[in-house]
Symmetry: C2
Subunit: 194 residues, 2 copies
């Protein structure tokens, strides 16, 4: 099915804070970086993403996120900058990936294809090229892109995904972008000018 320009895609993003790796490849829950929420929400709004899920099981981190959202949607922030409000309205806080997937199923009437992003990923069986992912999104398949915080998505999350997107490679072999800038590049490659 072709979609006209300006309509949202059946595309979802999840920013995962648990389980992720720390520097020593231990399983941790990372803290929310509020700026990530802003940057990723603005990207979501730019590229027609339907919803950005902030995934954390920690009550205090969920509350922090909701407080940020309230300020920018219902509070003074929403009056100060309506563009920010429009972007943050796409954000939803959930305790785990399963809850996000359930929400997508209800909206879309189908299980989304879950595609992980991973800077360390070496091409294997479950690899997916940008071209392939882009064509699925263009063909109107429901797709959820997962982004990891800290040192990346834990294997427990990886097991729940259908595919792993090829890492962003620049030209130098250096592969240590922030999740904000990596997400920007990935969204532009997958949903830019579709």
């Amino acid at each position: 099915m072709q979609r006209s320009r300006g309509v949202t895609l059946r595309l979802y993003m999840g920013l995962i804070h648990f389980p992720v790796y720390n520097k020593n490849y231990e399983r941790i829950a990372s803290a929310i970086t509020t700026l990530d929420i802003h940057d990723l929400a603005r990207l979501a709004k730019t590229y027609g993403v339907k919803r950005l899920f902030i995934v954390t099981p920690l009550d205090d981190q969920q509350n922090l996120t909701r407080r940020v959202l309230r300020h920018w949607i219902d509070g003074y922030g929403g009056q100060y900058n309506r563009h920010r409000k429009e972007a943050l309205e796409l954000v939803c806080v959930v305790p785990d990936l399963d809850r996000a997937v359930e929400g997508i199923k209800k909206t879309e009437g189908e299980t989304p294809l879950i595609i992980a992003t991973d800077a360390r990923h070496e091409k294997k069986d479950r690899s997916m090229s940008y071209e392939k992912a882009r064509s699925l999104i263009k063909e109107d398949k429901a797709v959820m892109l997962l982004f990891g915080t800290a040192w990346g998505l834990h294997e427990e999350v990886m097991k729940k995904t259908d595919s792993i997107l090829d890492p962003v490679s620049g030209k130098t072999g250096y592969n240590h972008l922030s999740v904000r800038t990596a997400a920007a590049i990935i969204l532009d490659r997958l949903a830019g000018e579709i």
Copy 2:
């Protein structure tokens, strides 16, 4: 001249903090966002950019930037995360655009083509497409990309540039990305997989 993969380009970035616009389109000097320095330096390292100039005439803001750089290059940060050190070594603090251009001239033996980025830009005489900018970089022309902070580059800076890159358009008409994510998309379009 063709370059082999892994070699840096003759490409430079400048993050401008003065003169830029504030929300009311007044001429201001914006404050340094230290996270921008990290994110843009990591992008520069990824895409083979030769140097990232942080442009601010304010002494305290220059000192803040240098303190951040010292921590991550010579201080504990450099031991804690060597990837960050490698990226931040590309950063140079200058008081104004002219000083940055002088530095590039000395290194490259030619005046760089200065290309501004501007989310509000409407296509006019000085517009440049991504395709054109990409081909210039590929052909080994010395190029400096300018990114504005706050509400964008002031007209005084625009006058000093040769061209203005087309705005990043996603698919919804929403055009309010952070400078970090916009820079990521622009670098990937101009220098990705060259």
